[in-house]
């Protein structure tokens, strides 16, 4: 006489075994730690780790948004250099149209610089 088993019964049994297999070491470790490695918290132990130094101030600091002006002016000079250098190298073989186009480009950048100058960004405060 054979007994009919549901094929899913074995899956459930294996699932339970797998979960117990995974959780049992964790539980044992927890019990071991509770008995042989008791928690001993303290103000220094729980303090923020900063290479042994005491942490100072707040982590939520803000940077001044006005620094974007420095970024823009840096871009003016930086981009200008990138374009002016090849322009200077190839200057002898350029047509008059190219020269005018380059002057317009430089004028646009100088205009930006002039705007920043007027705004007082270049004065060190």
């Amino acid at each position: 006489m054979s007994v009919e088993y549901s094929p899913y019964l074995f899956m459930v049994l294996l699932l339970i075994a797998a979960v117990v297999f995974a959780l049992a070491p964790l539980g044992l470790a927890w019990l071991w730690a509770k008995r042989f490695s008791p928690r001993k918290p303290g103000p220094v132990k729980n303090a923020i780790y900063e290479c042994g130094l005491e942490s100072k101030g707040d982590a939520w600091v803000q940077f001044k948004a006005e620094y974007y002006l420095y970024a823009i002016i840096f871009l003016i000079f930086d981009v200008e250099t990138i374009f002016v250098l090849p322009f200077a190298v190839a200057f002898g073989g350029l047509s008059a149209g190219a020269f005018v186009a380059m002057l317009v480009f430089l004028l646009l950048l100088v205009e930006g610089l002039f705007w920043a100058w007027q705004k007082g960004v270049l004065t060190w405060k």
Partner: protein
Amino acid sequence: MDERLRSELSKQGIFTTTLEDLYNWGRKNSLWPLGFGLACCAIEMIAASMARYDLARFGAEVFRPSPRQADLMIVAGTVTKKMAPQVVRLYNQMPEPKYVIAMGACAISGGPFKQGYNVLKGIDRYIPVDVHIPGCPPRPEALIHALMTLQQKIDEQALTGARRPRHLVAEAPSEFPVPEYGEHDLEPPNNPAVWQPPTLVRSE
């Protein structure tokens, strides 16, 4: 378990052990030092962890960058008075059970700077040191020897009774007082619970 019975069983190929021995065996072979060098001794410590001396043979090559994961502090080098509070704070932040190896003449006594004004005359004035290594600097072999000595010490620790480690004593403090950098010297100049200056006894 009777020692004679144990050896008799091991002759028959049956090895017996205790939970305590198993625990200590695991602990002593997985000492994770704090990646923490103070002076030239740290170079020797680094050399000991590299291929030629290979600290990994003792399971102690995992230098942790955070005290939260370390259980061995190798005080490798000169502890200046400016640095001593940080050393004690790092030691406090390590989880129990934790051990300290004082490496080199400076860490154990102040070494060549003992007469100076700004060097701590031994880190054992503030934290309990398990193994002292003399030398200036000690060779990597000396550090390995210290590690083996510490392993022996861990192996002999019991889980219960009088030989149990400090963290299992309920009334033992979990933290050691961090000295303050005072006007002339560290305050207090030493932790009286850990170290007391030797008293001079004159014979009349």
